[in-house]
Each structure stands twice: as C-alpha cells, then as structure tokens.
C-alpha cells in the first residue's frame, strides 16, 4: 500500500531549509495562478481559439514537483499542462503567443494549449491524449540512462488516466527496466465530469503502483511543501538508480474541466467546490509563510505584482505577434 506522507515535517532543519523553497514554490504557484486566470478571462472574452484546460487549484502539485527538478530533468504533461509548463520555466510570452495561435508561440502556432513544450527546459510537451505522456517519459528516462546521464523523467497524469492502458504499460515498463521515472498522479477527483468513485473502485490511485512493484506515496496536493518533499524524495531515489516511484497528490481544480465555468454542468456540488477553495494552495502557503516568518505579506504581494506585470507584458507580446503564414502550413510535418 502507498505511504501516506506526513503533513508536517518534525525536523526543524527541514523547516529552516524550506524558507528558500517556500519562496520558490510561492513564486511558481503565483505565476501559474495568474497565467491561468488571465488565460481564462481571455478565453471567456473570446480572444483565444480552441480549448483551454486550466490548472487553477492544482498549483501546489506542479510547483512542488518542479521545484525538485533540474532543467535537464524531463517531464511529460497532460491536456491540463499550462501549470507544468509555467512551473518548469517555459516562457510566458511563448505560452501566451501559442494560446493566441501566433507564429511566435511555443509551437509556432501549430500546437496550441495542449502541445506546449520547451525542450530546453525539459518540457516534453503537454499532450492531448490521456495517458499518452506516460510511456514517452519512460522513453526519456531510458534515453538518459542510455546516454549515461543522471537526469530523471517525471510524468504527470490525472486519476482518470490511470484507467488507460498506456499508464499501466508505461508503469510496468519503467519498473521492469528500472528506469528513473517519477509518476505523479494529480488526483483532482474527476475524470472530466465523472467522479473518481464512478471510474474506479479504489480510494487511492497510489495503490495501483503496487501492481508494478513500484513504491508510492500519497500527499496533500494542496500543500506545496508536502508535494515538494515527496517529489524530492522520489526524484533523488530515481536519480540514484533505485527505479520508478509514484506520487499521488490529492488536489482539486477550481475551474471546470474546460474553460472557466464550462457548460455549468452540475457535476460537482457548490459545497464541495467551496470546501476545496477554502484550502486554496496559495493561501495555505502564504498563511504558513507569514505565520512562521518565512515571508512578509509585502514580499508576497510584491511577487503578485511583479508577476502581474510580467503576465500583462506577455499578453501584449502575444497580441502584437504575427499570425502564421498559411503558405507555411506544411512546415515541420517532416524532418529533412
């Protein structure tokens, strides 16, 4: 069975060390939050084409994991991938430009929201196919080991994705090949509009890791520090050659499956949403930081303000960017 991570470390040294980490996590979460809320507004204003699967509410997971990674560590993401990209350091300008379908975008306007990537940052792409990123991360980890590098690969997926074959095949493959892969399940309780209880009989997705001889841990996905600690452990383990591990982060998305309010389908109760929003991961982290003196309110507010400015600039950049030339439609279908 999965280990349940303790909510708080009893080790004072760890708490001391986390002062840096808290600021790092906070900054990553604020960037995600503002990126997503602004994207949601732009979408609702009809200024962005296509679909948007927004990450608001789950920031602690992306931030917590990414803070434990190096630039050369690889991640594969999901259809709800903006948070991972932002936390991994992908440029906001390129991300917005991509959402706008501009030629300056992360995919030159060819991919859109679900294919944002940045190879220089180890971001192997969001993915429009549920579960498909799992085997790809396994391959990235394989490549690292093949080349004698000590980088690891992290694959993000939701609770719903653990019902698809690619997840199971990838988990088994990573385990049997002993590859440095960290499996991060962001369990937000819903596969699109279906609650977890409606798509699996398990309470904890992490139990599935046992089927592949893989250790796992369950963390509070609204607690960035907890996520970070678990991720740091799993990454260190993988980097050391001890093989893959799974982290299940229990979290919640504040927005609808798609867009902000989506089709307003009443699949979640207002009480449930309110309950989770009361545990907003950013609020939780800020409250703790202020309480234990890790950061002042002013410092935190400054992060918000700086990030707002950066977001506004990125949006302006995207809007000013040229559209792709239809004459280049066939660009990059093939190499060579």
């Amino acid at each position: 069975m999965a280990q349940r991570a303790s909510k708080k470390s009893a080790d004072p040294a760890a708490n001391q060390e986390s002062a840096q980490v808290v600021k790092d996590l906070h900054e990553r979460m604020v960037r995600i939050r503002l990126f997503e809320t602004e994207a949601g507004k732009l979408m609702e204003a009809g200024r962005l084409p296509g679909f948007l699967h927004l990450y608001v509410g789950q920031e602690a997971v992306a931030a917590g994991v990414m803070a434990a990674l190096r630039d050369d560590d690889q991640i594969t993401s999901t259809h709800r991938g903006h948070g991972h990209a932002v936390a991994k350091g992908v440029g906001l300008r390129e991300m917005y430009a991509e959402l706008y379908g501009r030629v300056t975008g992360a995919c030159l306007g060819r991919g859109g929201s679900m294919h944002i990537n940045d190879l220089t940052r180890g971001m192997l792409g969001a993915n429009g196919i549920v579960g498909a990123g799992v085997p790809i991360a396994v391959g990235a980890a394989f490549a690292a080991r093949y080349k004698g590098e000590d980088s690891v690969a992290v694959t993000f997926f939701g609770d719903g994705a653990t019902n698809i074959g690619a997840f199971h095949e990838g988990a088994n493959m990573a385990a049997i090949l002993g590859l440095p892969v960290v499996f991060v399940c962001e369990n937000n309780g819903y596969a699109e509009f279906t609650p977890q209880s409606g798509h699996m009989l398990l309470t904890d997705v992490a139990d599935r890791a046992a089927a592949y001889g893989m250790p796992s841990v369950i963390v509070d996905g609204m607690d960035a520090l907890a996520v970070h600690r678990a991720a740091a452990d799993a990454v260190a383990r993988a980097r050391a050659g001890a093989g893959p591990m799974m982290i299940e982060a229990k979290t919640y998305r504040f927005y609808d499956h798609q867009g902000v309010k989506g089709l307003r389908h009443p699949y979640r109760s207002a009480e449930e949403v309110a309950e989770w929003k009361a545990r907003d991961p950013i609020d939780l982290l800020e409250a703790r930081a202020v309480a234990d003196g890790t950061a002042t309110r002013a410092e935190l507010d400054d992060v918000w303000q700086r990030t707002r400015d950066e977001i506004a600039e990125a949006i302006a950049y995207a809007e000013a960017s040229p559209l792709p030339d239809p004459a280049d439609l066939l660009l990059n279908v093939y190499s060579g």
Binding site: G111, I129, V138, A153, A166, G170, M173, V333, S335
Partner: protein, 341 residues
C-alpha cells in the same frame, strides 16, 4: 524472377552474393547499429530469442543487453519508449512483431510519433524506426496477416516502407534508421526466406523513390511489397504473349514517388495497382486518384486496382490463396486493360 538492381548511393562493391530477406534485414540493422551508437532495438523477444522471425539473430551477442532490449508485451509502452527516447536524441528501433498488433499502440504511432515534430513547432525530431511483419500467406489468419500500410500512409508525419526483396529489406531498413522521421518498415512474412543479391557493405535506399523493376510499354503495374515479385512473374508470362508490362516498385508508400508513376503512365496509358491489402480504401485508391489527376489525358482505360476482397484474411489455405492477389490475377488484369474488340 529478375530484379533490376540499382547502384546503391554509397556505391559499395556490387557483389553477387545472395542473402535471404530476413538476413539482409538483420545485416542492415547490425551495420546501422555499428554506424551509430544511438541506435538500439527494443521489442518482445528481440534480444534473447532473436525475434520470432529470426530478424534479430545474434544481435544480442554483438551489442549486448544495453542496446538489445527485451520488453514486456506492451506495444503502447514500447512505442512510447521509442518516442520518448527519440525525442531525447536516440535512434530507437522498436519491433511490433506482427503488424496486426499496431492497433494496441496506434495512439503512440499516430498521435505521438507522427505529430510531435509538427505540434511542437519543429522543436524536435522523432527518428524512430518501427519494424513489423506484415502480409498473408502463412496461414496465420485474420489477426496475424494484415497489410495495413494504408492506415499509416494516411498519417502526416509518418513514413512507410515496404521492402519487396532482400536487397530492399536491407537498404530500406538502413535508410529508415538513418531518417530523422518515424518510419514504419513493413517486412513481408512470406518473403523472409526469399533471396536476392545483397551488397555486403551498408547502403541506404532513398526513401520516397520508386524503382522501375522492369520496363515495358503496354501497361504500368504498380506493385507493393510482395506483389512486386508477383508482378514480375506476371510480366514474364505476358511477355511470352507479346505484352510488355512495366513494373514499378514504389518501395516507400509514404512519401509516395508519384512522378515515376506518372511518367510511366504517360508512356503506357494503362495502369494496374496491386497490393495485398483490401482494395477498398487501399493505396491503390490513392494512386488511382493521383494518376487520374495528373495523367488523366493519358489514360486509355480506367486505373485498375487489384487487392484483397473486403474481408478479414481467412485461415484455410484454400481460402487464403483465393484471397491474396497473385501473378495470374495480375496477368489477367493486364489483359483486361489491353482488351480491344
């Protein structure tokens, strides 16, 4: 049967050495692995066992378990492993054993490998080679006998090659591995034991270049994979009756060298396309459409397609024989195209 052999690009000594199709594949793969340290092979029973068709014989001995990887029966993870490794700069060769199994990993091929470069704005390449055995004729029945090239040729970003003999089995495999795109190498099970002259040196056959296997003036026969040999046999039969057919082996069905076809059709004015796959929606339909588009005014007869009937591949040898096109049907088709009152 005679195959007109071209001088390989690397101009190795042309040695009159005959090799079986499967050994030629194996030799090309081994040479490509020696040529590039980033090439590795993964698949079910490819290492220890050497592949169920002996495609990977002896490779474990030479390259060791680091580069010859036995995997679980997990085609989705296998191809995904290839995609991820290719995205990180390796040149994986993943083996799907039977092409029929492609259904369980089609997402990784179609939605991941094929599109990744495009979706990512050209940020990376996916130099992935997928090898698989296709074709009917061994009594392997409906789930182990298909030729599904049309599925794959339909997907932008993929390349698909269909070696028709030992020479092309080696050269196309080498080119597939050297290519920076995902390439599916459709080996033909019936041809595995067939022999033809194969140079000892490593050589590639350019992808997307058709080969005129026999020149003729009366009918152009465009044949895929194993049907090339059948078409050449039909050509011998027809030549005895005074009919000279031109046999074109596209070798690569994606990208498809239509220019060679058009040029031939403009000379012969009659075309037959033959493949093992079912006729409906097969490559023949695409080729016919392109020919009528580019060479309509040069046609003296509608483009004739010969393929399998619209049914799963049957098991019983008598049914299977009736199912797969052969030289007799090709010859009959040519005669039909030339029919005059």
């Amino acid at each position: 049967m005679t195959i007109v052999k071209e001088a390989p690009a690397a101009a190795p000594n042309v040695v009159a050495r005959k090799l079986t199709y499967v050994k030629a594949f194996n030799e090309g793969l081994a040479q490509a692995m020696r040529e590039d340290e980033n090439v590795f092979v993964a698949g079910e029973d490819v290492a220890g066992y050497g592949g169920v068709f002996r495609m990977f014989d002896n490779l474990l001995d030479e390259f060791g378990p680091r580069r010859m990887i036995d995997t679980p029966i997990s085609e989705a993870a296998l191809v995904g492993l290839g995609v991820g490794a290719a995205a990180r700069g390796l040149r994986p060769v993943v083996d799907l054993m039977f092409m029929d199994f492609i259904g369980v990993c089609l997402d990784q091929i179609v939605n991941q490998a094929a599109k990744m470069k495009y979706m990512f704005g050209g940020a990376l390449s996916v130099p992935l080679t997928i090898t698989t055995a296709s074709g009917a004729g061994l009594g392997a029945a409906a789930q182990h006998s298909q030729s599904l090239e049309a599925w794959l040729a339909h997907v932008p970003g993929l390349k698909v090659v269909m070696p028709s003999d030992a020479y092309t089995a080696k050269g196309l495999t080498v080119s597939a591995i050297r290519d920076d795109n995902p390439v599916v190498v459709m080996l033909n099970k019936v041809l595995l034991g067939s022999t033809s002259e194969v140079p000892e040196e490593i050589y590639g056959i350019p992808l997307g270049q058709a080969h005129t296997a026999r020149q003729g003036s009366d009918v152009t026969v465009i044949a895929l994979g194993r049907m090339v040999g059948e078409a050449l046999a039909a050509a011998d039969e027809l030549a005895a009756q005074g009919v000279e057919i031109e046999v074109i082996d596209p070798r690569t069905v994606q990208p498809l060298d239509t220019e060679t076809m058009f040029a031939s059709v403009r000379r012969t004015n009659r075309v037959l396309v033959v493949h093992e796959a079912v006729t409906f929606g097969g490559l023949g339909a695409e080729i016919a459409a392109q020919i009528q588009d580019a060479a309509f005014d040069h046609l003296d007869a509608p483009v004739l397609r010969i393929g399998a009937p619209f049914s799963p591949v049957p098991f019983s040898p008598v049914l299977e024989k009736a199912y797969v096109p052969d030289r007799a049907r090709i010859a009959e088709g040519c005669r039909r195209l030339l029919e005059r009152s």
